[in-house]
């Protein structure tokens, strides 16, 4: 008989009392700010510009006096402008594609890699993974950080790792069968794709030994979760990571599936209103802003993630005291102001779900032909969306328009169009909003 698997990977870090945690966060934040000011020219300039003394921060809330760091800052600092250690102390580089050709290259010290492994091991244990599991990693092994983070975490935990990397779905399925993979690591989109290909090959869920899906890399709904769980017979766990900050291992669900625990002893989390840039009260949706507290090579202060979420109140039955955030609601880049009204796609989601029972793929186009904004909602219809039925439904378009107008305060022109090219590609995140006014 083997003993029950541990409930926590690092109970000292995951179950600290809040007062103790805040002391640790303060100590780490103070040291981080002194180090970034001393070692990173970008931060020295930023802090000096506003007359901020890095030795002047006395409370965690004082961080609100500091400016944000954005993706544009990282792009401008390419290649070494954000490094806090000399290159000879760097043991790894990872890159994030960013938008267009602008690359961001992140650095990791030896300690950073070790911390990363432990933080990811925490997430795996929280999701129910044990050292006896066989973990198949279908993220791409390359410049992107994702696959490596999970890989290190799983090895640290002592699980058996199969680094299949991305692509070749048939081979993925064969390995999954032959080696009795118990944990699938993938994007939610790829998990569904695997299920699809398996079904086409006549393989039902019974052909596999899957138990847990550690999924992440793109926002996904509870419906998609249910579908993945039913089709692959596993428990699907949501994970949050961001290449600029670390990769995976920043936050993740425990088996309670009631929000993602943030590794707060290593990342200070704030939620701000993406328009006013002021902090929002707990519970309210806003953009996640993160400060690294222990990173040596590539520390980031108040990094705007552009990811929308909210701090969840209350304690989690799992015993972790780390704060939970809601599953991602989208990107703050997608928030848009139309004729002075702030519109977020999640509100559009709600209206469409109400009418259709599920959220179809859609895009919002905003133009300004004259002086006024004009918004068009393109609903991309595919086979699974009962295209014909929708067309037959008299007044469907009218209904959507009326509901959007009354609930969002914006009048949209609504069009039914064909599927987007490239839709369904694993890992692809395409914007829900196309703003044609910015020219």
């Amino acid at each position: 008989m083997s003993a029950a698997p541990p409930a926590y990977w690092q109970p000292d870090g995951e179950c600290m009392d809040r007062e103790e945690l805040e002391q640790l966060q303060l100590e780490r934040l103070q040291a981080t700010l002194v180090r970034t000011w001393r070692n990173v020219p970008f931060y020295r300039r930023r802090f000096d510009e506003i007359g901020f003394d890095p030795e002047g921060l006395r409370t965690l809330a004082d961080i609100q006096r500091l400016p944000f760091t954005t993706k544009a800052d990282l792009i401008q600092s390419y290649p070494y402008g954000m490094y806090a250690v000399p290159l000879r102390d760097v043991v790894r580089l990872h890159a994030s594609g960013g938008t267009g050709s602008a690359a961001i290259v992140m650095a990791y010290s030896r300690n950073d890699i070790k911390t990363w492994s432990n933080l990811m091991a925490r997430m795996l244990v929280a999701g129910g993974v044990t050292k006896d599991d066989v973990v198949q990693i279908t993220f791409n092994y390359g410049l992107l950080a994702g696959a490596f983070g999970v890989h290190y975490g799983a090895e640290r935990l002592g699980a058996s790792v199969i680094p299949t990397s991305s692509g070749n779905t048939k081979r993925q399925l064969k390995i999954m069968q032959d080696y009795k993979t118990t944990v699938l690591v993938s994007t939610p989109g790829y998990a569904l794709h695997l299920a699809e290909v398996a079904r086409d090959a006549g393989l039902g869920p019974g052909s596999f030994s899957l138990r847990v899906g550690m999924l992440g890399g793109e926002p996904w709904s509870e419906e998609v979760r249910r579908e993945i769980e039913e089709r692959l017979h596993l428990i699907a766990i949501d994970n949050y990571g961001l290449s600029e900050l670390l990769g995976p291992g920043i936050a993740g669900e425990c088996t309670e599936k009631n929000g993602l625990h943030v590794n707060e002893d290593h990342f200070l989390v704030e939620v701000i209103d993406p328009v006013t840039l002021k902090p929002v009260p707990p519970g309210q949706v806003g953009e996640l802003v993160m400060t690294s507290l222990t990173k040596e090579a590539f520390p980031l202060v108040r990094y705007r993630t552009r990811d929308l979420s909210a701090i969840l109140p209350g304690a989690c039955p799992c015993g972790r005291t780390l704060v939970r955030v809601r599953r991602l609601l989208g990107r703050s880049d997608d928030m848009i102001i139309i004729r002075g009204v702030t519109v977020h796609p999640s509100a559009v989601d709600t209206v469409l779900r109400d009418i259709l029972g599920s959220v179809p793929d859609y895009q919002i186009f905003v133009e300004r032909p004259g002086t006024l904004d004009e918004a068009t909602l393109h609903i991309h219809v595919s086979g699974s969306l009962f295209f014909d039925e929708m067309k037959l439904q008299t007044g469907f378009i009218d209904k959507v328009r009326r509901r959007l107008s009354s609930e969002l305060g914006v009048t949209f022109e609504v069009k039914l169009v064909g599927p987007r090219p490239g839709d369904g590609s694993p890992g692809g995140i395409t914007s829900k909003v196309v703003d044609l006014r910015r020219k």
Partner: protein, 248 residues
């Protein structure tokens, strides 16, 4: 056990510590490393009330002691072994130890006192051998042991050691740090400051790097020992040495 937030302290117009925040949990050995003059001793003196903080809070077991007299802090269970031992040279080893028991006066009586002496002699057998000798005639290592033994007579829950390895031969330094581990194992929490970063971090669970009065790094001892800045500044591994070693 100990929680310090935003501590500023100094002497006269001189500011030595700037916004220092550290904590020590029960049962831990925590090391503060840094160069000479970084403010390490001042930090310990401020905790025990010999230097008054200008700002910030010092919580010892949940109580703010930043305005508490030294004697009361010691009685509350926080003892300091000062830099350079400072034993009473003209008194015997035994008398020195008994002085350490004065805050315990009235507790435990004669039997308690004897038990304490036995406990100290268990840790430092050499002190029993030399009990009638004048402290001034002891070697540096023995004086360090006597100073530690004297502090332990007060049953501190937190034992603070200021540069325990200073001026001692390498072999003796090893003995002293072995004893630190045993003191910790016997139930005392230990906060020590050291220029000898390697030895201190080898026995400590966690550590802080103090540079010109400010904490610049913190982490587990393992992390600090693996940090290249710490290696270059405090462990005597410089960049040239590294690159030479790496050369074919």
């Amino acid at each position: 056990m100990l929680r310090i937030r935003n501590l500023d302290a100094g002497y006269g117009s001189l500011t030595v510590l700037r916004r220092v925040s550290i904590h020590v949990k029960p049962g831990e050995i925590v090391a503060i490393v840094g160069a000479n003059g970084a403010g390490k001793s001042t930090l310990l003196k401020t905790i025990v009330g010999l230097v008054r903080p200008r700002a910030g809070e010092v919580l010892f077991e949940g109580t703010d002691v930043s305005r508490t007299p030294t004697e009361a802090i010691v009685r509350a269970g926080c003892s300091l072994v000062p830099e350079g031992r400072q034993v009473f040279a003209d008194m015997t080893v035994w008398e020195n130890l008994l002085l350490g028991a004065h805050v315990q006066r009235g507790k435990g009586g004669r039997a308690g006192l004897q038990a304490d002496l036995d406990r100290i002699c268990g840790l430092f057998p050499v002190l029993a051998e030399r009990r009638r000798q004048l402290a001034g005639t002891l070697s540096g290592g023995e004086q360090q042991m006597l100073a530690m033994g004297r502090a332990l007579m007060a049953h501190p829950r937190l034992l603070m050691l200021d540069e325990p390895s200073m001026g001692l031969a390498p072999l003796i330094v090893r003995d002293i740090f072995d004893i630190v581990v045993r003191i910790s194992a016997a139930g005392s929490t230990v906060l020590l400051v050291e220029q000898n970063a390697r030895s201190a971090l080898k026995v400590a669970h966690r550590g802080y790097v103090l540079e010109t009065g400010t904490i610049t790094m913190q982490g587990t001892s393992e992390e600090l020992l693996a940090n290249r800045d710490v290696q270059r500044a405090y462990l005597g591994k410089d960049a040239n040495e590294e690159s030479e070693r790496g050369a074919p």
